[in-house]
Amino acid sequence: MPPESNSGLGRRLLFVLPIVAFIALAGVFALGLGHDPTALKSAMIDKPAPDFALAPVAADRPGLARADLGGKPMLVNFFASWCAPCRAEHATLAGLAASGVPLYGIAYKDKPEAAQRFLGDLGDPYQRIGLDLDGRTAIDFGVYGVPETYILDRDGRIRYRYAGALTDQVLKTEILPRLDALGRP
């Protein structure tokens, strides 16, 4: 019996272990490469949308309250006239609304006149808009920066949150498939 075979298995394990550990670590890093660390997972997923009642941005328009949400899959979009990415995503929102997706807006910390001007310049794709002057409704939704877009199901529960400007690509890969899965009419 050769002397090494006594501890042969343990010895071989000692050589294999660092390689296994390295591969595992490399795998974790590879997964992390495609992951944006500043994008936060919403803590509100699968919770009912918070209660709120917001004034309209203009006297001749309806405001937005919790009671208006639910009944069908819909989008709630937080925007602000002072926010450049909101401007950038506006055309995408207009296209989405034109295709019949129910879209509700919440103007985050915006002056009514500024919000009116913003919508007058770029068009108004929203069915209803609430004016969240102090940003409290946004905090209740878990918003950490505008623009953010939430998908709500027919029970008024939050099912998905997209933080950042929507693009046609994001619509195709993230938003529309989820709306379809929720039974979009």
Partner: protein, 153 residues
Amino acid sequence: MIARLLATLVLLLACVGPALAVNPDERLADPVLEARARTLGKTLRCLVCQNQSIDDSNADLAHDLRVLVRERLVAGDTDAQVLAYLQARYGNYVLLKPPVDPATWVLWFGPPAVLLIGVGVLVLRRRAVPAAPAPLTPEERARLDLLMAGTDE
């Protein structure tokens, strides 16, 4: 002269406190509540800057959260209730110190576990007494005898 300059410098440095973003108009009149708000503010993450507490951050959202924390305290919330309120909206990420739950077990217990494994390996290696060599087989013995006999000549 130099000693005096140094003394002045030391005295000036002693006046320097940590820079806080808490604005005077946010502060509560009640020093006890304000102190609790400060303690809470240091443990809450600003979601915009992400590596600063809401007390250290100048971000708009951090300001809103500081005001919110103070409102909850004035309304009679306990510290735990304030934290739970924000956790419900922003998740564990809003806490700068992650709670111990199954999702963070690796984070909390990983390093001590690795240390224990290391110590265990060291102890085992120290203890391992080299095994006594196996007794010679009859063939080996015969061969050895032959060799020994050969060297005598």
